[in-house]
C-alpha cells in the first residue's frame, strides 16, 4: 500500500532493544506513510512504541541497546528518494534538524540553559544553512516573532529559565522550523502544558503547518489533542498499529476493541446531570512488556471479545473502507 505521493513511507519498521538475554520488541512491524501538508497522529499509551517509532525515524536511538532490524523508511524529499535506515550518520546529520525536525515534550530539558534563546535558534541556522552570525541572529528574531513571542528582539537575549513552559515550547518550535523542514515530528509537545496554553500551541502548530505545507507526525497519548490536530490517526498498542483511519473514523466509528475501550475510558465533560453511581468503562490489566509480548493479538489478554483464534496467529491489518483498517479478526462483531 505504498503511496507514490508520500513524503515519508515507514515500511515494516522493527526496533528492538537488547539487554542481556532479553529482547524487547518495542516497535514490531509498523507501516504508515505521510504526505506533505498532512498530519498523522500516532496515538498510544506508555510502552506502545509511539516514541520509539518517532526516534527511529530520526535515528536518535542509542545503538546498542537499540537496533533497527526492519525494514525501510523511505524519505522522498525534493525529488530524491532515500532509505533513512541505510544512510551514514554524516548523511543523516544533513537531514536531521534540516529536512526532518523534532519538537519534544519537555522544552526545558531540550534547551541549553547556558545559551540565550536567540543563540540556540541561530546555532541551527548557521550550521544547516550556513548563515552569517548577523543574518542568523536576525532570522532568529523573525522566527520568534512568527511563533508569537512578544518583543522578540529583547526576548532573544534571554535565557531559557526566564521563560514559562508555553514560551519555551514556542522557542523549540521556532528552532525546529528554522530550516523549513519538510517533516515535523512532534512528540507530546503539549503534554507538559496547561489546557489553556495547550490550545494556543496546537493552534500555532496548525497554522505554521499550513503556511509551510509541512507534513507532521504528531505523537500523543491524548485523544482530545488528536481531535484538534490530526487528519489521520494510527492507534498503537504494544508495538503495533492496531487501527488506522481518518480522524472521524477513529474518533466516531472505531472498530478495534482497544480503540473503543480507550475512547470509552476517558471521562468526558457531560451536559447531562451527573450520576454518582456511574463508573468509567475501564480496560482490565495493563499493557504487556515489550520483552514478553503475548502470542497472536497482543491485546487479547485484556480484550472482552477474545476467542482462542485470537491468540493463535498475529492478526493482519484488515481494510474496512477507504483508508480505515483494523488489526482484529472480530472487527465485524465489535
Amino acid at each position: 500500500m505504498s503511496d507514490p505521493a508520500a513524503l515519508i513511507t515507514v515500511d515494516d519498521l522493527r526496533t528492538i532493544f537488547r539487554t542481556g538475554e532479553e529482547v524487547a520488541r518495542a516497535v514490531d512491524g509498523v507501516s504508515f506513510s505521510l504526505r506533505a501538508g498532512e498530519t498523522l497522529a500516532l496515538v498510544g499509551e506508555s510502552g506502545s512504541g509511539k516514541s520509539v517509532t518517532a526516534l527511529s525515524i530520526m535515528r536518535l536511538l542509542p545503538m546498542p541497546p537499540a537496533q533497527i532490524v526492519g525494514r525501510r523508511i523511505v524519505f522522498a524529499d525534493r525529488g530524491t528518494e532515500q532509505d533513512l535506515l541505510t544512510l551514514t550518520e554524516r548523511q543523516m546529520r544533513r537531514i536531521r534538524g534540516r529536512r526532518i525536525a523534532m519538537v519534544f515534550q519537555e522544552p526545558m530539558s531540550s534547551l541549553n540553559p547556558l545559551l540565550t534563546i536567540g543563540e540556540q535558534i541561530a546555532e541551527g541556522l548557521r550550521l544547516h544553512l550556513g548563515l552569517s552570525r548577523a543574518a542568523a541572529a536576525e532570522r532568529a528574531c523573525e522566527l520568534l516573532a512568527r511563533v508569537n513571542i512578544p518583543d522578540p528582539v529583547r526576548r532573544s537575549g534571554e535565557y531559557p529559565h526566564r521563560l514559562s513552559g508555553g514560551m519555551r515550547q514556542r522557542v523549540m518550535i521556532a528552532a525546529a522550523l528554522g530550516c523549513n523542514p519538510a517533516l515535523l515530528i512532534a512528540d507530546e509537545p503539549t503534554t507538559a502544558l496547561d489546557v489553556t496554553i495547550q490550545g494556543q500551541i496546537l493552534e500555532l502548530l496548525r497554522s505554521l503547518q499550513q503556511e509551510l505545507c509541512m507534513a507532521m507526525l504528531f505523537v500523543t497519548h491524548d485523544l482530545g489533542v488528536v481531535s484538534e490536530v490530526a487528519d489521520r490517526v494510527a492507534v498503537m498498542y504494544a508495538g503495533r498499529i492496531v487501527e488506522t483511519g481518518s480522524r472521524a473514523e477513529i474518533l466516531s466509528a472505531p472498530r478495534h476493541p482497544y480503540t473503543k475501550a480507550l475512547l470509552g475510558s476517558v471521562p468526558r465533560r457531560r451536559s447531562a446531570r451527573r450520576d454518582p453511581a456511574a463508573r468509567l468503562p475501564a480496560i482490565p490489566g495493563q499493557v504487556p512488556s515489550a520483552a514478553q509480548l503475548p502470542p497472536g493479538c497482543t491485546f487479547a489478554p485484556r480484550c472482552g471479545l477474545a476467542i482462542p483464534a485470537c491468540t493463535a496467529a498475529r492478526p493482519a491489518l484488515q481494510p474496512i473502507a477507504g483508508a480505515h483498517a483494523v488489526r482484529c479478526i472480530r472487527w465485524r462483531e465489535t
Binding site: E45, S46, S164, G165, G166, M167, D194, V195, T196, I197, G199, Q200, E203, H221, L223, A261, L262, S265, V266, P267, R268, R269, R270, S271, A272, R273, R274, P276, A278, R279, L280, P281, A282, I283, P284, Q286, V287
Partner: protein
C-alpha cells in the same frame, strides 16, 4: 449541617528574599479563600499551574502554615496547631499524591509502607497489623502476596493503589487527592478513578480532589472550585459549572468561549489590580481594574467573582 473542613479567609504567602539586605517580597499563593467541605462530599479544585491549587491543599493539610485566616477540621481550629498536636489528627486526614513513583519509599516492602501508618498511630498489635494491611490491599484490588513486594515491582496504576491503601489505612474521613491519576495512562486512569469513587462512596469520605483534567474532575466531584492566582473565581455544583459557567475564566477553561484565552497567568508577585483575571479576560471593562470582585451567589450554591453580570448568562 456543619462542615467537616471549614476554611475561612485563608491566605498563604511565601517571603521571597532577593538578597540578604533586601526586604523580602511576598508571594501570595492563596489569597482570601473561603471553602467548606461537608462529610462525604467531593470538592474538585481546578485552575492552571500557578493558580495555587497545591498550596491550598497543603495548607488544609497543615503541611504549610497559613499567613491569615482560619482552618477548622471537625470543629477543631487547626490553623496554628504544631506538628505534634497535628499528628493525632493525621489519621483522620490523609493525602494521595500525584506521582506513585516518588511518594512510596523504595526500600520498604508494601507490608511496612502500610504497617507504618498503623504503628505511628498505634493502631492494633504488631500481629493483627498484617491482617489489617491484607484487608486494606484487598480493598484496593491488590492480591495479598503484594505485601511482601517492593514498590518497583508494581506498575504505575498498582503503585497508586498502594498509595491509596496507605492513605486510607488509618480510617481517614477526609482525603486530599492531588492529581492522583495525572501520571497514569488513560486505560489505567479509569481503573483508579473507579476505585477512588467506590471507596469514597462506601467509606463516606470527604475529598478535596485536584486535577488539571476537567473531564476527570467533573466525573468525580459533587462541587467544583475554580482557582486563579490564589483566588476563587467560581464555585458551583459539578454539572451546573459545566453547563452554565458564569465566570469568564471558567468559560475559557471549558473552551466555552469562542476565542482562545490570550497570554499566560501573571506572576503572583505582581498580580493585576482589581480583578486578577482582567488582563486575559475577553469581557474586561475599565472598572475591572479598580474593583476587586467579591464572590457573589448567583443561584443557590453557585457563586462567581465577576462584576460583569451582563455576560455569560447561559
Amino acid at each position: 449541617m456543619t462542615a467537616l473542613v471549614d476554611i475561612a479567609g485563608l491566605d498563604v504567602a511565601f517571603p521571597l528574599r532577593r538578597s540578604l539586605f533586601a526586604r523580602p517580597r511576598l508571594l501570595r499563593a492563596v489569597a482570601g479563600v473561603d471553602l467548606a467541605i461537608g462529610r462525604g462530599e467531593v470538592v474538585g479544585l481546578v485552575g492552571e499551574s500557578g493558580s495555587g491549587k497545591t498550596t491550598l491543599a497543603r495548607a488544609v493539610m497543615r503541611l504549610v502554615a497559613p499567613t491569615a485566616g482560619q482552618i477548622r477540621f471537625d470543629g477543631i481550629d487547626i490553623t496554628h496547631r504544631d506538628r505534634a498536636a497535628m499528628r493525632a489528627l493525621r489519621r483522620r486526614m490523609q493525602m494521595i499524591f500525584q506521582d506513585p513513583y516518588s511518594s512510596l519509599n523504595p526500600r520498604l516492602r508494601v507490608r511496612d509502607i502500610i504497617g507504618e501508618a498503623y504503628a505511628i498511630h498505634g493502631i492494633g498489635t504488631p500481629r493483627d497489623r498484617r491482617e489489617r494491611a491484607e484487608a486494606m490491599l484487598a480493598r484496593v484490588g491488590l492480591p495479598a502476596d503484594a505485601l511482601d513486594r517492593f514498590p518497583h515491582e508494581f506498575s504505575g496504576g498498582q503503585r497508586q493503589r498502594i498509595g491509596i491503601a496507605r492513605a486510607l489505612a488509618t480510617g481517614a474521613e477526609f482525603v486530599v487527592a492531588d492529581e492522583p491519576v495525572s501520571a497514569l495512562d488513560v486505560s489505567v486512569q479509569a481503573q483508579v478513578l473507579n476505585l477512588l469513587q467506590d471507596l469514597q462512596q462506601s467509606l463516606g469520605l470527604a475529598m478535596l480532589f485536584i486535577a488539571h483534567d476537567l473531564g476527570v474532575v467533573q466525573h468525580i466531584s459533587d462541587r467544583i472550585v475554580v482557582l486563579y492566582l490564589g483566588r476563587v473565581m467560581e464555585v458551583a455544583p459539578s454539572d451546573v459549572l459545566y453547563t452554565q459557567p458564569r465566570h469568564p475564566y471558567t468559560a475559557a477553561l471549558l473552551g466555552a468561549t469562542p476565542a482562545r484565552l490570550r497570554g499566560e497567568i501573571p506572576s503572583p508577585l505582581s498580580p493585576p489590580s482589581g480583578c486578577v483575571f482582567r488582563t486575559r479576560c475577553p469581557y474586561a471593562i475599565a472598572p475591572c481594574a479598580s474593583v476587586v470582585p467579591r464572590l457573589i451567589e448567583v443561584t443557590p450554591g453557585h457563586a462567581k467573582a465577576c462584576i460583569r453580570d451582563d455576560v455569560l448568562r447561559g
